[in-house]
Symmetry: C2
Subunit: 429 residues, 2 copies
């Protein structure tokens, strides 16, 4: 029962998992047909089995990973098969007794060098699998040459069956509901920015709420950012695989995946500040509500504008457009920050105990720092947008309108579902 | 030249890498001898090659990873070979024409189910490789049954050659300079705690320094904590592999590796606070030096005592002993914290601008929070120490001695190389 429930949940969380399983089954079954049809089998003999094994080993969830493994495997097999055949020919010159010794020496040297090369960070990130297959094929071809005279045929058969296996995997992987890992990375980076936005949206209400009323929606918003803190390694893996992918949809072949890592790092830097903010929600020494009330308006304003800026950035980035709408929100958050600063400068809290003021003051100072973080993210996103030639949309903003008119004239993107009450955006192109 | 330099650096950074490369070469060469000796070859024929392939695929840097992969491969091969042979026998009942259809159906079903199972987080963490080998062997045995009547012999040969390959890998991996990943995890967790200690040791000096004098040593201390922030995934990988390892040295078979993850998480929580502290070192709005000076003494004291507690914890944890020495430092940091709090309560800074006070006040409040984090780490380490039955050392502390006597009577562990000037530790057992 427990397993059935978990299985159902796994499938519901991401239906692509079920599709992937079916795709693997299909690819393996297709390739195993080689073995059954007389004419196909006659060409390769028992080597046909390598095609089936290749599908099992190479077929991954995403196109990028499958392509990376497939190309690694093909290239490594090709080079190693040639080298292995060469090593066998060279060794066989030294006679039946000398051959094993020479081949064993070659195998040892190649294995040592290749294994060491796998420690280079760049090799490890992109060619680790290829290195392993290189040793494997080299051993296979050079060693079996001792018992089997047709080394060249064997090397050729091995390469061609692996080619068939890789091609079959790639065709099934790309043609039937492909999972592009580059798209996953794109969505994950934008989702992470959005999570920080959600936190800041909920934070203002939560920190300055008077009674014990709790908002379930806010709670989930306040927790969401935690996954951002530990997203580094998964982003790096995705970026490595994404670089293997051909152009697809809005992503060109040389899409600047590396710059996603920069945006990811800046997002994490911001998440660390958010983590610090979060700790003040459940702080033991809390600033009394009446003192907090004094900075409530500008703090809430900064938090809300930051949240809007982040969510706007997440949404426009996801849609791959460049607008100035996030910059507007950053500007208004800066204005609110100035208000907050001047409020802090006036000796508002003279009679109060400094120890009690500190939490609220720290919250205020963190909010000011978060604005800087958001500016950096915004710059990095702009750079990325330029490098990836995102579509530019000029949004002209008329921020001077009085509030009552503003609310009526707001033009809102129906997809974002975010209120942008403080400015009017007229999309001119 | 560049490559030669990098190679040299990789080898110098961790000489175990060179040893590992040599070990892989040795194991592959050893197993390939099977192919050369007539009597050994006669037993297995061409299947002997599987032993070589197994070594290439299974031999990993650490014992845990090699054992995990080896056991996965052996178990999966055994089960899949039996099932595959069974599938072949069942299918062959339906005649020459029906067999391919039935076998293809079996292969499809097994491939789909097994691929989906790889998505379960627990399966992915520990049995991912086994699942892949299971599909592979099942296909190999059931499909080749169509062309080869001796399916049972083939299944047996495949299993026994893989057994030989795995055993050879394990023997070489364990007997020649073994790399225990559990030990790596142990050292990495304790090093991370130590890095936070280093930061706090340098922080007090750096934050309250008057002139622009810079201390190179401090700089490296202040940077070290950054790797802690992103250590989660590597710790999880290590813990997963460590669970495969047999007892070795001070680590028993059922060593509580899972609890290392808890300690790691708490260390990261503390590292997030340290990250927040670090941002105040290069803050734009800085509290004037004369105001900072007012809280300098207790702040430096808290920072130093926290640093000592962390370093003491790291060092005793590394040596797998339980002492109360870290608790002493935590106590003194709490005392200093009380001083700091009462200093903050007095209206020391009445005439100053609140905006300028905030950074210093935030630093003070973060230091207070860090004490709580350290207490949590200390508790988690104690739990872990109990679960793993670390050696208990009773340290009796005589903190009342005057300073001059203290410095002479300090008994210091020569391995820790850390000054413990404020207490006298008499190790009684």
């Amino acid at each position: 029962m427990e397993i059935a429930r978990k299985t159902k949940k796994l499938g519901q969380d991401d239906p692509r998992r079920i599709v992937h399983s079916l795709k693997v089954g299909l690819a393996i079954t297709l390739v195993s047909l080689f073995y059954y049809f007389e004419p196909l089998y006659d060409g390769f003999g028992d080597s046909a089995m390598w095609a089936v094994l290749t599908v099992v080993l190479v077929f991954e969830f995403s196109v990028g990973a499958t392509l990376g493994k497939g190309l690694n495997r093909m290239l490594a097999t090709l080079v190693a098969a040639c080298l292995g055949a060469g090593a066998h020919c060279l060794a066989s010159l030294s006679g039946r007794k000398g051959e094993p010794i020479l081949v064993a020496t070659f195998v040892f040297i190649i294995a040592v060098i290749t294994t060491f090369m796998r420690f280079f960070p760049k090799v490890k990130a992109r060619y680790d699998y290829g290195m392993m297959i290189f040793i494997l094929t080299f051993c296979l071809v050079s060693v079996s040459g001792y018992r089997d005279d047709q080394v060249l045929e064997m090397a050729r058969d091995r390469f061609s069956t692996i080619l068939i296996g890789c091609c079959a995997s790639l065709i099934v992987c790309i043609c039937i509901f492909p999972v592009w890992i580059g798209e996953n990375l794109h969505n994950s980076v934008s989702a992470n920015i959005g999570k920080l936005g959600n936190f800041l949206q909920a934070f203002g209400d939560e920190y300055f709420r008077v009674a014990e009323e709790s908002n379930e929606n806010n709670k989930s918003y306040l927790q969401g950012y935690r996954t951002v803190l530990t997203s580094k390694s998964s982003e790096e893996t995705m970026a490595n695989f994404a670089r293997w992918e051909p152009g697809h949809g809005p992503f060109g072949y040389r899409h600047p995946w590396k710059m996603y890592l920069k945006v990811g790092n800046l997002t994490r830097d911001c998440a660390y500040k958010v983590e610090a903010l979060n700790s003040y929600l459940n702080c033991k020494i809390q600033t009394p509500a009446e003192i907090r009330g004094k900075i409530q308006v500008p703090c809430k304003r900064v938090s809300l504008e930051c949240s809007r800026a982040l969510k706007e950035m997440a949404s426009t980035f996801r849609k791959m457009v460049i607008t100035r709408s996030a910059v507007m929100h950053i500007e208004s958050s800066k204005k609110a920050a100035e208000e907050l600063k001047s409020l802090l400068k006036t000796n508002l809290w003279e009679e109060a105990d400094l120890l009690e003021i500190i939490p609220a003051a720290s919250v205020a100072s963190l909010l000011l720092e978060i604005i800087e973080c958001i500016e950096k993210i915004s710059e990095a996103l702009n750079e990325l947008g330029k490098a990836a030639s995102f579509r530019k949309i000029n949004a002209t903003v008329l921020p001077e309108l009085p509030d009552s008119i503003q609310h009526e004239t707001v033009q809102q993107d129906s997809n974002t579902a975010m209120p942008v009450p403080h400015c009017v955006i007229i999309v001119s192109e």
